[in-house]
Amino acid sequence: MRISGAKIVVETLIEQGCDTVFGYPGGQVINLFDELYLNSSRINHILTAHEQGAAHAADGYARATGKVGVCIATSGPGATNLVTGIATAYLDSVPMVAITGNVPCSLIGRDSFQEVDIVGVTMPVTKHNFIVRDIRELADTIRNAFKIAKSGRPGPVLVDIPKDIQTGTWDFEAKKDPVRPYPLSFASESKLRQAAEMIKNAKRPYIYFGGGIISGKASAELLRLAEKIDAPVGCSLMGLSAIPSDHPRFLGMNGMHGHYASSVALDEADLVIALGVRFSDRATGKKERFNKNFRIIHIDIDNAELDKNITSNLAVQGDIKDALFRLIPMLTEVSRPEWDERIEELRREEAERLESAANSAFAKRCDNCTHKCGRSDMIEENHLTPYQIIDIISEKADEHDIVVTDVGQHQMWAAQRYPLKNPRTFLTSGGLGTMGYGMGAAVGASAAEGRRTILFTGDGSFGMNLNEMATAVSQNTPLIVVIMNNGVLGMVRQWQTLFFDKHYSNTTLARQTDFVKLAEAFGAKGARVFNAEELEKAAAEAFAHNGPFLIDCAVDCNEFVLPMLPPGGSIEDIITEIK
């Protein structure tokens, strides 16, 4: 059947199993949007407030479901607005296809109105990208984009489609099934035998996993390995939600703001079994010191990650689920009472440190507070602590609710504290650290299956993309926005406190935004809370509410994310208390 290029795009998206796309119309995608209009019963388009929101929404959709997220934008500014969202997905290995319109081929390269070389711009932040210059290649290019996005280590792919390609016509026949990813590569038998040998000789093994366990669907295998070799388990930020937070073997996230026991146990281990994790600098600190005490087995689907940041003792390339499935039978069941005892000791130490830090923070709260945030309302005896906020919200939440964060202190508090049960229920911008990620991602995550999303954000991050509240209202998204409002850009302020002699340069917001009124202005509901009792009440209302609900929680600006391994530091430099 001969149809227009615009229709080919929509038909191919549907063929690839895409039910929802996020985007924003414009001059060079107007034909494409016409086809979306004509096919609205087959494919749902969600209009965001800004293209960045559309990219984050596609990302949130993909992270929540494991499917490929799709966003659409027009040429020029529409396309460049996607870039932060694409880069966010790239750094966190999220499967995404971004479709952009462009000026007709004859106008390319002439600095035409709203023309940008988006293929050139996104080359370093995509797995691959295409510009379609021949309508005969349009359908296969989109199919190929899906294939690349979901193969191996997932990632974003951009397809740029000039307007004349959309308006032209060509034959199209839908394929019966979506494209399959490239065949997985499997770990070599001899490498796995070596791994088994190293594990057998280890006295204090520690399993360190990342987002690869989620995308590789290897949670069960990971836990079986931990049981069999009697090892504690820790993870990177991206690994969170792969296994239940309350699993007895799980010590939590390690690294810069990781759990004390998790970071110390890692350092005291003699063998680290690193699974689907990439040793980011935020996780390792000073690289020369990081692996002084232990050997490393590194298993990853992406060959380029092996020996990139940390040189391992054994690098194994292959699918993680298969590798673990084959590795486990090579191992004999052991128990390590001494190592277990040490881990328990560390857990107790962590609990004590946590308690004493909480007490001292309470005593020092807003002491000598000289900044101009004008938040004297917060200096109350029973004011809310970040952990308390997370606890109150999580108690009311269902285990299938999706937790989304923005970036900053609130993100780390949520990562440390929120009790997660199921994979793909914790969405956060880990690699790129994109403030403003949360609103778009929450809308996208919820759009997939209508599940409730809970966004933990800060007044800084929320300010970046709060316009997506309009989208949440238009979609009636079951979204609870929890703002940890401390009147400052808390994470940078924390660094300024610790490393810049309390020079609070441009981190004191001195804004007068009334977030409740703002929510109401958007057509959502909101409440402002100062203590646990008020939060309980607001949360009850929020969870009962059908649609977006914002809770503005007053938080002390002297709350710090602890523990902290200073950037470029090591375990000896761990900060567990602010003096």
Binding site: M123, P124, H128, D302, N303, A304, D307, K308
Partner: protein
């Protein structure tokens, strides 16, 4: 760590933008390129890029793995210096005077270079060979007055019947 020269052969899809992807990878990951050449292969679907860079084993390994990850890259091989024929081509325009003409001609003959253009005031020599030979010839020409020169950069191919595949 030891800093040595590596020569790698890269087979890539012959599509637009592929050179940007390859050179861009070097730029954004902070690897330095000494020289890069690109040209046709026996198949019109593929091009061949030869990249020369300095570094240690670890950097080499990272470069190879990052290259292999690019979608348009089909094959990467580090070429062993002893097992590889490496060539560079030089075109050099030298001032032509009655006083120096004979000396230049002699040098051209000894180096097995060729004079490919001749005018009363300038002549162009063409020379192929390994880097060291080309460098030596350029040094030799300096006193006569180099007016202009250009080099292709290295191309390299493995000895024997071992080949970089272009049939993936």
């Amino acid at each position: 760590m030891e800093n040595k020269q590596f020569v790698i052969g890269v087979i890539v899809s012959n599509v637009s933008g592929v050179l940007s992807r390859v050179s861009g990878m070097f730029t954004r990951r902070g690897f330095n390129i000494d020289c890069l050449t690109v040209g046709e292969t026996e198949s019109k679907e593929f091009s061949r890029i030869t990249v020369v860079f300095h570094g240690d084993e670890e950097i080499k390994e990272r470069i190879v793995r990052q290259l292999e990850k690019l979608h348009d890259v089909k094959e990467v091989e580090v070429l062993a210096p002893n097992e590889t024929v490496i060539r560079d081509l030089l075109l050099i325009k030298v001032r032509n005077t009655p006083a120096t003409r004979q000396d230049i001609m002699t040098a051209v003959e000894i180096f097995r270079s060729k004079i490919v253009d001749y005018s009363p005031t300038a002549l162009i020599c063409e020379l192929t060979g390994e880097t060291s030979k080309i460098n030596a010839f350029i040094e030799l020409m300096k006193p006569y007055g180099i007016m202009e020169m250009c080099r292709t950069g290295l191309v390299a191919i493995e000895r024997g019947d071992n080949c970089l595949k272009t049939n993936s």
